[in-house]
Homo-oligomer: 258 residues x 2
Amino acid sequence: MYSKPLILVTNDDGITAPGIRFLIKIMNSIGEVVVVAPDSPKSAMGHAITVNSTLSCTKIKIDSGPQSEYSCSGTPADCVKLALNEILNKKPDLCVSGINHGSNSSINIIYSGTMSAALEAGIQGIPAIGFSLLDYRWEANFKPFTRAIEIITHNTLRKKNSNNLVLNVNMPKVNHEKEIMGIKICRQARAHWIEKFDKRINPMGKEYFWLSGDFINNDKKNDTDEWALSNDFISIVPVQYDFTAYNMIEELNKWSFE
Amino acid sequence: MYSKPLILVTNDDGITAPGIRFLIKIMNSIGEVVVVAPDSPKSAMGHAITVNSTLSCTKIKIDSGPQSEYSCSGTPADCVKLALNEILNKKPDLCVSGINHGSNSSINIIYSGTMSAALEAGIQGIPAIGFSLLDYRWEANFKPFTRAIEIITHNTLRKKNSNNLVLNVNMPKVNHEKEIMGIKICRQARAHWIEKFDKRINPMGKEYFWLSGDFINNDKKNDTDEWALSNDFISIVPVQYDFTAYNMIEELNKWSFE
């Protein structure tokens, strides 16, 4: 039924976001595209799934092109689960998520709905790529990255029999393709956020908070995604989902539990 | 101000859940306890944080005891961020999360609100333990684990200067303490869920889904959390939050991006 590779496209900014519309156009040139994406923005959803309420999924068409599209009430991880189990009639060759409006480099991966969709595909044995651009604006300029996205996607499709291939691709904010310094394979920088809460008072006199913060990166080596991005490289971090801190096992085995 | 260790307690089942009430009682015997927990159940929230809406936090008292308690509108990760930035006036010596009603072993960690709170504390440089019991019921029997929880907590407090100490503790369902075979340091089993969606029709004739599934574990070695739990051991997996697949970096460096 599918002669071209079958590509599942999702995101966390919602099915109408410019980032996913741009990604769909590129994927249409590479494979048979099925879009299953959240019906509204689900940023910072982490790897949330919907277990205490119901999910709905509607076949729609946001704009022209050969892709099939489904709008789903759940989280990005829900979208991947629904796609694999209820929508696609065969296992996809690839899942791409994004293009996210904003960075998912370094520790941001843990909060990212975009990357949770890619990781969920990986858990299910499907190669996956999360694409993110370091520009939060709705009018972000994705055009300079067309060729890089095509190259990374073709490479991943060629290597699709590699075990557990999940890539976290972040792209620097540039105006033209020629400003991109290249593509760099990286590790996740050991950085974190220092939170700041903006405390306000509502009209009824009750205190409430907005979460904000500063990103702190003291990991200055040149093999990290942060280094690559700050030097106008596209960063690719291969990722995995075994949380075990293997280097701690020996120490913990010395603990006394009597 | 705090002579005893300062312990932050949170969970994902909500501040009134029996699991957190039991954990608070144990922690009151060990340190100065501040509870900052979700005002309603936030299971399977993964590492979601609240960025597109506001947060509120109310000082309350659910039951007697020396602990201070705050009920928060956000996710488990939000609770930890709010506690560290707006509620506590010094860095806590430890964060404990749970006791979760249900397993967070193996791949379940990635969906877990309980463990996202512990990981968030770890990211902020605070030793943390997530406790989970393999019993989903509200009337789950936590009593057999009192001594084990005390021992693990005291050990963690003694080692609190170790870098990034975050433990995922899962406890088997037993009726009496003597049925526990011991405490085992483990790695995360390489298992996953095969989803099943229960498809239904609502009164307006529209299709909707409930997520369910079967847990598939083909990782049968005896060093995993799943092995420990199925043999009535308490499993401790030391965890970390660097998602980099270091074993893939060499292969990716061979890719051609021309």
